[in-house]
Amino acid sequence: MAEKDEDSLIGYDPLAWMHRSDSNQDSQRDDVDELESHAASAFASANAEVPGPEMNHDEVPIIASESLTSEQGERAIVVLEPVLNIQNVAVLHQRLTQMLSNFEAIDIDASGVTMIDTATLQLLLILKQTAIGLQKSISIDFPSDKFIEASELLGIAEMLEVDQAASGFF
């Protein structure tokens, strides 16, 4: 193929991730230890499908800016980082809890998520339930396929309402 050719004019092949994602095998993901083994292996393969660096957050079809707060005290928008794991769950927790006390509604843009662990998903679930208790709302907008996949694996897609979010994509 072109990229193996000695004097090819094509150096780095930007489309390579498309083939990688067809044949996902091993992943060099961080351990997702709190998962039971079934879910863990499914997670690993989901992570392996994450495309290369060319597929990053700035290519979501619709870009919401992080500080887009339409009106103080009304709604806030939070854009999730591509990689969410136990290392940053505490920070996210603090940030979202604080926002929940300041705003009536929080829209969480999950379009850029390429990897999410159970700790983060649990946090989102708890916050969503807390919000309901406070008669406020947290909604997850534009969940990426990785996000949907992970929450379905944990059986919380319905509780997070990501299935609806996806069908009402816009």
């Binding site: 092949d13 498309m18 816009f170």
Partner: protein, 253 residues
Amino acid sequence: MSARIVAVLNQKGGVGKTTTSVNLTYALAKLGKKITVIDFDPQSHLAVSLGVVDPQKSGIDKVLLEGVSLTQQLIPVRKNLNLVVAGPRLQEIEQLMDGGARRGDLLRKALLDGNRDEDFIFIDCPPSSGVLVANALFAADEILVPMTSDYLALQGLSHLMGTIKKFESALKRPYKFSLVMSRYIPTRRISKEVLSVIQKYFPGQILATTIRETALLAECPSFGKTIFEYRPGCRSARDFTALAKDFLEGRMM
């Protein structure tokens, strides 16, 4: 309504979306197909290329923003070929953000509405990936991607495929997807190499005819003419006739 809705899409600028939209639709119309082509780019290059120059004339903007019917905005520009211009307010859609970017279904709804009898609706997309393109992707059954054969276009294609996959998973349906090699320069080695990389990833999805880079194709928009009217029978006109047949018959590389 059973028209096939085709989005001519590539977020990269200048790859030949508008040139393809103009000349492929004209060629299809000449072959007897009934076509509506929508200028979905606030730059209005499609309308200009078809000789319609009236910056104040409303078009798809009014359909999306005010709910006017699409049928009302059709301009018969050639035999079997209707045009819907962009209109001066189309840019506003791109800026609609509040209440969520949930305005992605405007075009789909507008196209479903009314009973027209076209065989194809083509959407000439702007070079961006904002709300307009989201509308086009939401409405389309098929995506036709004009692709130039240079290295950065390959990079752009990678980006575009990421976006398309995201939409497919959100909409839970796959698109019929095809590529057209446009502005092709057969004498350049990089052209062939880029093409062979694309063939590796998109077997059976590249339309058989390549549209070559020619001076005539670059000239005709300024006269508001398709290549068939500007220089009938020239090489590029023949390229587009062959491309139209490929498109109808599903002939791929």
